[in-house]
Amino acid sequence: MKLQEYQSKRIFARYGVPIPAGDVASTPAEAREIAERLGKRVVVKAQVLVGGRGKAGGIKLADTPAEAEAVARRILSLQIKGLPVRKVLVDEAANIRAELYLGLVIDRARQRVVMMGSSEGGVDIEEVAAARPEKIIKAAIDPFIGLRDYQTRELALGMGLERELIRPFGQIARGLYDAFIGSDASLAEINPLVITGDGNGGHGDPPLLAVDGKMVLDDNGLFRHPDLAAMRDVDEETPEEREARQYGLSYVKLDGNIGCMVNGAGLAMATMDITKLYGGAPANFLDIGGGAQADRVAAALRIILSDAHVKAVLFNIFGGITRCDEVARGILAALEQVPTAVPMVARLVGTNEEEGRAILASAQMITASTLAEAAQKAVAAARGSTVSA
């Protein structure tokens, strides 16, 4: 589960990471009020769960509350990569001397949480990793020992930080690590982590400030964090994704026109791939999981058919413990609940496949015995033609 910038930064702040003063607004008037309250130059930032907000015009400075209102009005009317902007964060503008990067990820190969720091902040860290990998300093963290002070010192020195910044950097690194562990995160990023212009004095700014924040939480850990689970932004989900989640279905919408309904995640991906191999394009990833309850199959079918691009549906079911005849009856019951003229190709294989196929043949479905045959028939059906068996 991805968190918005303002949510991520509020979590960081709870763990002692300094963030700019600010608040979140849903209307231009609210943005103006926040700017008035802050009484300083502000930055107005679109809260959407995609990258590239700046380039899309979703981040703007404003010198006065009136300007903040105008800027917020513009940003709240934007769509960024297809997502409407529903909230803006109004933050006190930071006095920026330099931009750093600090992040925590799960390194799957090393099977450790790894902290990464770079002096090249404010840009996409993946670009830094590709172009100047020596600019990324890493520390792998032992799960039993945790993050140690020497590791944050090594990071700070590796990033070329001035001596007086090493201690505040260490505190931020520890805060970010504690936030990561305490939230069951799979990613936590401060980019940029800003070295403020006036160092230690002036406006009383802290020497380092987390100007942007990003967190991705492990869905499997949410049961421990009902407060974080409640932060899920349902507005960011499509209605189909929401319905799929409620039925415990794994669904991802794609751009093609062949709807795929499959049991098992790996098989679902393989089914998508084979439609492409035979010249088609999958409309979705959908794993109906084990079992064959009609209401689940019906929900899955409803979700697939709600996509107007879908011109054919391919069922690929491997019966193991689940029997094919049960699945076939589930599909029939689903078709009664969700009548449609879209052609359906069913391929059932495994336990009781003959019985399953017989049940579906009576329902005017196109049947196939191999996956390759099923994919070819689905591609043909989506084009409005038929292939003889």
């Binding site: 099977q111 991802v252 790996g266 098989l267 991906m269 193991g320 413990i321 996956l371 390759a372």
Partner: protein, 288 residues
Amino acid sequence: MSILVNKNTRLVVQGITGREGLFHTEQMIEYGTPVVAGVTPGKGGEWAAGVPVFDTVKEAVEARGANTSVIFVPARFAPDAILEAADAGIQVIVCITEGIPTLDMIGVKAYLDQVGARLIGPNCPGIITPGEAKVGIMPGHIHRPGPVGVVSRSGTLTYEVVYALTQRGIGQSTAVGIGGDPIIGTTFVDALKLFEEDPQTEQIVLIGEIGGTDEERAADYLAGRMVKPVTAFIAGQTAPPGKRMGHAGAIISGGTGTAEEKIKALQAVNVKVARHPEEIAEIVASQM
């Protein structure tokens, strides 16, 4: 021969009195797996599926000589169940449970590495040595004994491939589902090493998917070291970046973990990569 489980397996089922645990215990016994004990805390002294139930794994090991465990307990209790099995001296621990938090698994895996216990999974279908022992949830009847070792991150996709092999009359030495999570106990490299050393295994089928770099590391391992032919399939060539495809570990993130990279890495070390699952059996048959 075979790898990891065989007729000398003495299996304890952790979570035997739960709905899934009980159903699959019956299925495993029906297949002929030597199931010697079950564990459910608080139900010691009862019987389930004709098997004595104990409160702890330690008791199951002492009373029944269990040497292998399969875990069906819910995600929030599964890390504890894995650690309990390892602490009781179980050498092969198979965790079927899906949904264990990743940070929990990092700690569990670090502990298992210290005590030298092997974990298969989590979030996996388990492991089967056809004709000898089925430790997991796969349909037993689609398998038959033979010379092909199968290792996979997936469940039903593995059944699909095994079924295609069996239909061509090609049996399997052992089929291992290593699981679809980001942090798993046994990787492709671990399984390849075991198959390379197993005299019964003549060929290996590797079924990967998007996410992580486990397939690339398998390719590195295979370079020069592996004698037995390996045929691979990688699922998720049409998967978009940044979206989780069902499995917690099946996600292209930060530009890494794409099917293209994995296929390229495997082809570079002379692994034949099938274009679709049914083609795997054709390639294996041509190499018999």
